[in-house]
Amino acid sequence: MSNGPSNAGKAIAVHLHGADKVFPTGLRALAPIDLVLREGEIVTLLGPSGCGKSTLLRLVARLIEPSSGSVALWPGADDVAARRLAFVFQHPTLMPWGRVESNVRLPLDLARLPAGEASRRVAHALGLVGLRDFSRAYPRELSGGMQMRVSIARALVTEPQLLLMDEPFGALDEIARSRLDRDVAALAAHEKLTVLFVTHSIYEAAFLSTRVLVMSARPGRILKEVAIDAPQPRGDDFRGSDAFAHACAELSRHLAFAAEGALA
């Protein structure tokens, strides 16, 4: 398996070895998957609906256990206990009764972090997503894109090393989505994050990723791996480049093939 050119020598962040998932109903969501994510990579899982992308992400997040095989996070590291992953859901998943600041603060409160330190981190995370002025607002007062930013701030507040994102911008309009994709790329570079990102948008995958894994459905498996060789973080100008156009064309071809496989 090839890795992004600049990350080839980096330590392993996620290692799936023959991990699969069969649900109690007998539904096979994932065929055995082998996957290595190296630190600093942005890897996208691209595929049609129902191809097990989210299941794969939930396996990595330990929200579900693999039926067989193994999932290891930072297998070589000697400070695994100190490392954290954060998950951004498909929907903002905010507590409607809490203000923006208390939503972002939640993971720290649950971990019983001292109040002063928590406040400092909340302010920092809100600054990263550009919502410093909205800390006293309630979620319902914000647009869909801003709610998603709150959700990202909540993920960043624990200062994670690994960020898992499950179609986070699927419900947003194209403009908001492009802006957030750009921000995610910048944040990942700035905060030295490893990102595993699920999407069904070719453009989103091409823009964000160092590698794209094209998945096909029933059972979900990785059909094709596409490396996108352009320096990170990428700005909006990348969307006009030849590299972006080529990546989109290639991904589109593989995705069409994956979708056909799903129909057959």
Binding site: F87, W97, R140
Partner: protein
């Protein structure tokens, strides 16, 4: 506020007020013109006069009824929420106890009241027990449903960040349940009053406490119909006041975030 559906704000007050005044006027004219005797239908003016004249008597009764209602509401909220917490702890507990809560609910309070009044010697506790039985079910069923109506994605989130059972209860389940609880509270407030009045009726003249239902009963026996109407008016007013108080609590708790209490600026 949506002007298209609700109309301007003043209309929401003026509409019911006009209907009420028209009704009172029609009632008054009907009684005066037809010369209806006061022991059949008293005029609204006479009812108000009676309310004023009998206020020392009626206000004492009102306090008694309100005391029973308030205590019943307190106990039904306390016991009802505790039972709900118990129910959501395990399916076995819920499946074992819920049928009995339903039996308690579907058995008319008027049928249970005589037994309770015989068993419990003290009149006040007996009446409070009856009214509590009448009011507790909406608290139990709404709060239980609310405690279970947790956004599964938020539950995942809490689990992922290693929340303890207590943290999940305090920070997730209770806030999620709040809108349901307050909807139940509004119903329970009305039912507690109805339960109190019904129980007073059953206790009847045997009861030493003289609540509003006792006044209605006595006024009926004495054909003192204006006083009967005045007592009725007080019960209705108490019911409305309780409902408004429950609504106010609900608004205070939910106004920032829940759709039911948020006034849209758009």
């Amino acid at each position: 506020m949506k002007p298209g559906r609700d109309g301007p704000a003043w209309l929401r007050w003026a509409g019911p007020a006009v209907v009420g005044l028209a009704f009172l006027l029609a009632w008054h004219l009907f009684v005066v013109v037809k010369g209806i005797p006061r022991y059949i239908v008293p005029s609204p003016v006479l009812v108000l006069e009676t309310l004023w004249r009998d206020w020392p008597l009626l206000s004492r009764s009102l306090l008694v009824t309100l005391e029973i209602t308030g205590l019943a509401l307190f106990f039904s909220v306390l016991l009802g929420t505790l039972l709900s917490f118990l129910f959501v702890q395990s399916r076995t507990i819920e499946a074992s106890l819920l049928p009995y809560a339903v039996i308690l609910q579907v058995t008319p309070i008027i049928a249970i009241a005589p037994l309770v009044i015989i068993w419990v010697k003290e009149p006040l506790p007996a009446l409070v027990i009856c009214a509590t039985v009448a009011a507790i079910f909406p608290v139990i069923s709404n709060t239980t449903m609310g405690l279970k109506s947790v956004d599964p994605a938020l539950a995942d989130l809490f689990r992922m960040y290693g929340a303890s059972r207590l943290q999940v209860l305090l920070r997730l389940r209770i806030p999620s349940a709040a809108p349901y609880f307050f909807a139940g509270l509004k119903v329970a407030a009305a039912l507690a009053l109805i339960g109190a009045v019904v129980a007073e009726f059953v206790a009847g003249t045997g009861g030493t406490e003289s609540g509003l239902a006792y006044q209605i009963l006595m006024a009926g026996l004495q054909l003192n119909i204006p006083r009967l109407f005045a007592a009725l008016l007080l019960i209705t007013a108490a019911g409305i006041a309780l409902f408004l108080a429950a609504s106010l609590l609900s608004w205070l708790a939910l106004r920032h975030w829940h759709e039911s209490e948020v006034t849209r600026e758009i």
